[in-house]
């Protein structure tokens, strides 16, 4: 069975990378098919990599830093806006529920004659509105608590 690796392979690569391939290692390479193969491929890649590194200057660190700062601000803004968006949605739900309750009450009073006076309507309306408001506050508070815990965790994955 042919071998798939040689324990001197990494030495050969390091020798090629540093330009210090000892005579002992050279003679090993001559007698080892794996290291011969490694040497051929590594040498070609190192020559190309040297040219690529020399010819391609990375953009200035300052530009990257500014991009990061911008990205951080955007993330902070998104995080700050998240509870507001949630509370807005919650208030819409609250209004819809209140209106639905009001319509239902009026519909029942007109068609079934349940209506038993102005005070009764007022009491029921105030009671239901208070119940909906308390429920909305509880949900909102729960969300804010959850969100403040979550903001300690990360936004971007590697």
């Amino acid at each position: 069975m042919s071998r798939s690796w040689c324990e001197r392979e990494s030495d050969v690569v390091q020798g090629l990378r540093t330009g210090q391939l000892s005579s002992e290692l050279r003679s090993h390479v001559l007698g080892c098919s794996i290291c011969t193969e490694t040497q051929g491929v590594a040498r070609s890649m190192l020559r190309v990599a040297a040219v690529v590194k020399e010819e391609n200057e990375p953009i200035a660190a300052g530009l990257v830093w500014r991009r990061v700062e911008k990205q951080r601000k955007e993330i902070a803004l998104k995080r700050a806006a998240r509870p507001l968006i949630f509370m807005r949605a919650l208030s819409v739900v609250c209004v819809v529920l209140s209106v639905a309750w009001g319509v239902r009450y009026l519909w029942r009073s007109v068609f079934f004659g349940v209506f038993s006076g102005r005070n009764d309507l007022l009491n029921r309306t105030v009671g239901s509105a208070a119940a909906i408001a308390v429920l909305a506050i509880a949900i909102g508070a729960g969300y804010l608590l959850h969100d403040s815990r979550r903001s300690g965790e990360d936004v971007l994955s590697v």
Binding site: W5, R17, V48, V51, V52, P58, G152
Partner: protein, 178 residues
Amino acid sequence: MDETFSIAGAVPLAEKEAAGMDEQEFRLLYDATARPILAYLIGVTGRRDVAEDLLQETYCRFLVRQPKPMEANETRRYLFRIATNQLRDRWRRGVDEPWQETAEDGYSVDVDMQMDVQAVMQVLKPRERELLWLAYVEGMDHVEKAAATGLHALSVRMLLFRARKKAAGLLLPRREAV
């Protein structure tokens, strides 16, 4: 003693941002690591424009993420890991096909050698290109390559063996023929 880059620890985000790397520290890190990472990205994608974009995104993610304090070597591996993940995300999304450029765009000197290597890289799979570059250009051992690519160390050994065989089969006959 190994150099240590001061990177904020695993603390709530507000504290992280306050305790994070400042611009001066970032410049030191960037100057020490950006060139090999850019070369890696060019080597694997064959496209300088894509590589530059991914390089910036790599550092953005690194700084926004603010990992626990780590040694210089570990930071280097971590940056390569982010860069590799981005390469894969890009290919997975099908944003661009690798190796669309002509030889002159990414490589311009020592034309024979570069054309050979470029031709070989075009044939290899992205993962094979990554492993060959990390092994032979960056000189990473199997554990380091595993950390930089997210693969298991044993898989790295086998995949590298196959990639090397494939590259040698394509590259060496060309060199011998010259």
